[in-house]
């Protein structure tokens, strides 16, 4: 009996083994995703992986070109009213992948739904970002039909804003603003939209051919009914979710993946290999890494960090050059401003917002004497000369451990009396601690959603999100309110300058200690070209990618 059994297994293995010959799939684009796609529902998703895949499949009103400038997508053109508060988009003849026309009503439906659903990214519609009329009220449970969007005819989409938003056209390339086919959506069972290729519609460059929520592998193919289908050269390609960068590196060497992101410690290894290092590139990511200080005077270390001099001391005791060079190692840049480098170019001068890294040198820098000066002041003000502080950080990615250890040794060496206790934890727990304020310092990475300094500056307002609590400054709040929806919104230059004032308040109070602007070290196979990388919103775009 068992003999037959065994022979059966052998036979099965042999037959299966014969399938092994066709292993030369190098001419199919295989891209690494570092984390699962959370959801393909543009009103639900919150992560870069989801935004990227949605943008592969759905076009919004505008899209970004290789340089990050807004160019037409579904909207062929648009008009702005004199006061900058009404945008009229003229839609082209585009089709959904089931043959339906893409109409203005699809946008109206999606926008209303996202506000009503009030998921995390609904905030991007409200008065802190896009300023869509009545968005705040609808998000808080108001009547969705009062939202400032309308479709006077199927090819005209009108948006009314509460205040002019200078980056509005570029913002329209962000997935939360993408359309959803209302008829199709309503024909599905509740909650199933975007959970399989059958429950998802494309109007963009690619359609899903294999997908499942949380899947390790996503297959896409060209959408033949795409309005710009002539320009799409990729036929079929795939994403592979690989959470370990070691695994990704081997898969790249093997030819299984041809676009991967690697960690800083691997860069050294890659550079040692002449052949492999030809594929290495460093892509600026626009994400800022910084230390958040918990200023809650009631926190368990008697609120020592409520003292501004202690915060300034720590910020000035960190050697950022050495951090990026020796510990991050992926091309990240030391940063001395609250807004990252390579980010938010001025529309008129083209200069990045944080081009001048020395403007806040009085508050942020590396100067041991200055740091000790602040520290002496802090000691006498607080009447204590030793401080034990807890630093929390997420160790999911693995890369932060070395960085935080380096910070610990620098701070402890430069400020005798300060002891940093490191507390690694999974991301879920980290976010829990940050939102409930149970930490002293937190190592935070913030990825910009849109290409404007406001995506960072709104973090630190009194009303802002939970990531930085217990700091409140009326002047700061006023500047931010004026810039987003108030008197300065319409005046580009005045707004731009006011944002520097806000940044100054932030840094002279050392609300955060900026560390570095992240970069991604990637390996890309030489036969691939035309992948666009962006610092904000959708980070990678494959519409013009080609593979030889």
């Amino acid at each position: 009996m068992f003999k037959k059994f065994f022979m059966l297994i052998c036979a099965a293995l042999l037959i299966a083994g014969c399938g092994g010959g066709e292993e030369s799939a190098n001419n199919k684009l295989s891209v690494m995703l570092a984390s699962n796609v959370v959801s393909l529902d543009s009103g639900q998703c919150t992560d870069v992986a989801s935004f990227e895949v949605i943008a592969d499949c759905i076009d919004g009103l505008t899209q970004l070109d290789a340089d990050g400038k807004a160019i037409p997508a579904i909207a062929e053109s648009f008009d702005v009213s004199q006061d900058g508060k009404t945008y009229t988009f003229h839609l082209r003849d585009a089709k959904w992948s089931n043959g339906d026309d893409v109409t203005a009503d699809d946008f109206v439906f999606a926008w209303r739904r996202h506000c009503q659903k009030a998921e995390e990214y609904a905030y991007i519609m409200d008065s802190t970002v896009a300023c869509v009329k009545n968005a705040d009220a609808v998000i808080k449970g108001g009547d969705p039909t009062t939202l400032g969007v309308s479709a006077p005819d199927p090819k005209t989409f009108v948006v009314e804003l509460d205040a002019p938003v200078s980056f509005f056209p570029a913002l329209m390339s962000f997935p939360t603003f993408y359309p959803i086919n209302e008829k199709f959506y309503n024909s599905l069972d509740s909650g199933t939209y975007g959970t399989t290729p059958d429950t998802f519609l494309s109007n963009g460059a690619f359609v899903l051919s294999d997908y499942l929520p949380g899947t390790a592998n996503i297959q896409l193919k060209k959408n033949d009914s795409y309005w710009n289908a002539d320009k799409i050269s990729l036929d079929a390609w795939q994403y592979q979710v690989v959470s370990s960068s070691d695994n990704a590196l081997i898969a790249f060497k093997n030819g299984t993946l041809n676009l991967v992101t690697i960690s800083g410690s691997q860069v050294e290894h890659v550079q040692a290999d002449a052949e492999l290092s030809k594929n290495l590139k460093s892509i600026p990511s626009g994400a800022l890494s910084y230390l958040t200080f918990n200023q809650d005077p009631k926190n368990h270390h008697a609120g020592a960090l409520a003292n501004v001099n202690l915060r300034l001391a720590i910020s000035n005791a960190i050697d950022r050059e050495s951090l990026t060079e020796n510990y991050v190692m992926n091309g990240s840049t030391p940063t001395y401003t609250a807004i990252p480098i390579h980010f938010a170019p001025n529309a008129k001068t083209g200069k990045f917002f944080a081009e001048d890294q020395n403007q806040f040198a009085d508050y942020v820098g590396f100067d041991v004497d200055k740091a000790r000066g602040f520290f002496e002041k802090a000691k006498s003000e607080l009447g204590k000369d030793s401080f034990e502080l807890e630093v929390i950080y997420s160790n999911d990615g693995g890369g932060s451990t070395k960085v935080i250890q380096a910070i610990k040794s620098q701070v402890e060496e430069n400020l005798p009396g300060v002891i940093l206790k490191l507390q690694p934890m999974p991301k879920a727990e980290y976010l829990d601690k940050v939102t409930t304020n149970s930490f002293d310092l937190a190592l935070t990475d913030w990825v910009p959603d849109y290409d404007d300094p406001m995506t960072f500056l709104t973090l630190w307002t009194t009303e802002g999100c939970e990531i930085c609590e217990h700091w409140s400054n009326a002047d700061y709040d006023k500047i931010i309110a004026d810039c987003t929806s108030g008197s300065l919104a319409a005046d580009y230059d005045a707004r731009w300058n006011a944002m520097y004032d806000a940044e100054k308040i932030l840094l002279e109070n050392a609300v955060i200690a900026p560390l570095f602007t992240n970069a991604n070290a990637i390996l890309i196979a030489p036969n691939i070209s035309g992948v666009d990388f962006h610092v904000a919103g959708v980070n990678r775009v494959f519409k013009s990618a080609t593979i030889k």
């Binding site: 059994f5 959970t195 690989v242 299984t256 879920a428 976010l431 829990d432 601690k433």
Partner: protein, 304 residues
């Protein structure tokens, strides 16, 4: 009894998962007010015991909590079914292979008791128990996918059977070890029994003796160790599935626990399914035992 066990398991899991640190909403952009609103929507603001009663009443109606993932709002059941199917297929493959190889090793060892081959089989069994399947998986992946590029480096659903071989092999390691050890011990016991000695005395020897008297009696109990292995494989494949990129329940579980937010609904639903499977199979075994092995029936009758 089984129902009570299951109930207790669900209770403990339910309470634990709500007590341990972690946040089901990995939100960075929401105000405190909105987070509270979200929690209230899902009933997470109520006392744990009341939440538990609500959960149980929904479970009895056949739905896991509100039936959707906290994380992405997608319904749990259809996704879990697809993943169960994938894991099950690979699990069956590895059980088939593990049993066959385990039996083979066990028999060889028993027949060569005390000799070199027996020692070799024992070493293999010990290794099989000691090496976690995912470590073996990484080894296989490195060698067969990277060094000689024979098998795909990641799981390829379009070539399901072919790309199942490596994970199935690595998962079968534990089954091989367990089955081999069990078979060897059972066979040695049977070979020393009076009836085999009698058969030998009557002139039966070699293959005939083994097939008719030894194997038949030795293999009956072996069947009983295989069943729980099946469930063990479904639950034990977590890291292996994650490394190789298989959309199975193991990976689903890892993602639900270690993703950005802890997905209470998924973790609970999967744990309940795993526990129910396990308890179900144990119950089935208790019943089967009597049917498979006549001696148990006979002793029970005599005692009564």
């Amino acid at each position: 009894m089984s129902v009570l066990t299951l109930f207790l398991i669900i209770f403990v899991l339910f309470v634990l998962i709500r007590i341990v640190p972690g946040n089901p909403f990995p939100v960075e952009r929401m105000s405190a007010e909105m987070i509270l609103q979200k929690r209230a929507e899902l009933g997470l603001d109520k006392p744990i015991l009341i939440q538990f009663v609500d959960y149980m009443s929904m479970l009895l109606q056949g739905s896991f909590g509100n039936g959707t993932s906290l994380y992405n709002g997608a319904p749990i059941k259809p996704i879990m079914m697809i993943c169960l199917e994938n894991s099950f297929k690979i699990g069956v493959l590895s059980i088939l292979f593990g049993t066959a190889a385990g039996l083979f090793l066990g028999i060889i060892a028993a027949l060569n008791r005390g000799k070199f081959l027996d020692g070799l089989c024992t070493v293999v069994s010990i290794l099989g128990v000691c090496i976690p399947s995912y470590v073996f998986m990484i080894f296989l992946q490195y060698f067969f996918s990277y060094k000689i590029s024979f098998f795909p480096y990641f799981f390829d659903a379009s070539r399901f059977l072919f790309s199942s071989i490596m994970p199935a092999l690595s998962l079968s390691l534990f089954a091989i070890a367990t089955v081999a050890r069990f078979t060897r011990n059972e066979m040695i016991e049977v070979m020393n029994s009076d009836y085999v000695k009698l058969a030998e005395a009557k002139g039966l020897y070699g293959f005939e003796l083994m097939r008719k008297h030894v194997l038949r009696n030795a293999l009956i109990p072996v069947v009983t160790v295989i069943a729980p292995l099946v469930v063990g494989l479904l639950t034990g494949a977590m890291v292996t599935e994650k490394i190789y990129g298989i959309n199975g329940v193991g990976k689903l579980m890892v993602d639900a626990i270690a993703g950005e937010g802890v997905d209470y609904n998924y973790v609970l639903a999967l744990s309940i399914v795993f526990s129910a499977l396990y308890i179900g199979i144990m119950l089935l075994l208790d019943i089967l035992y009597g049917i498979i092995d006549p001696r148990i029936r006979l002793t029970a009758k005599e005692a009564a």
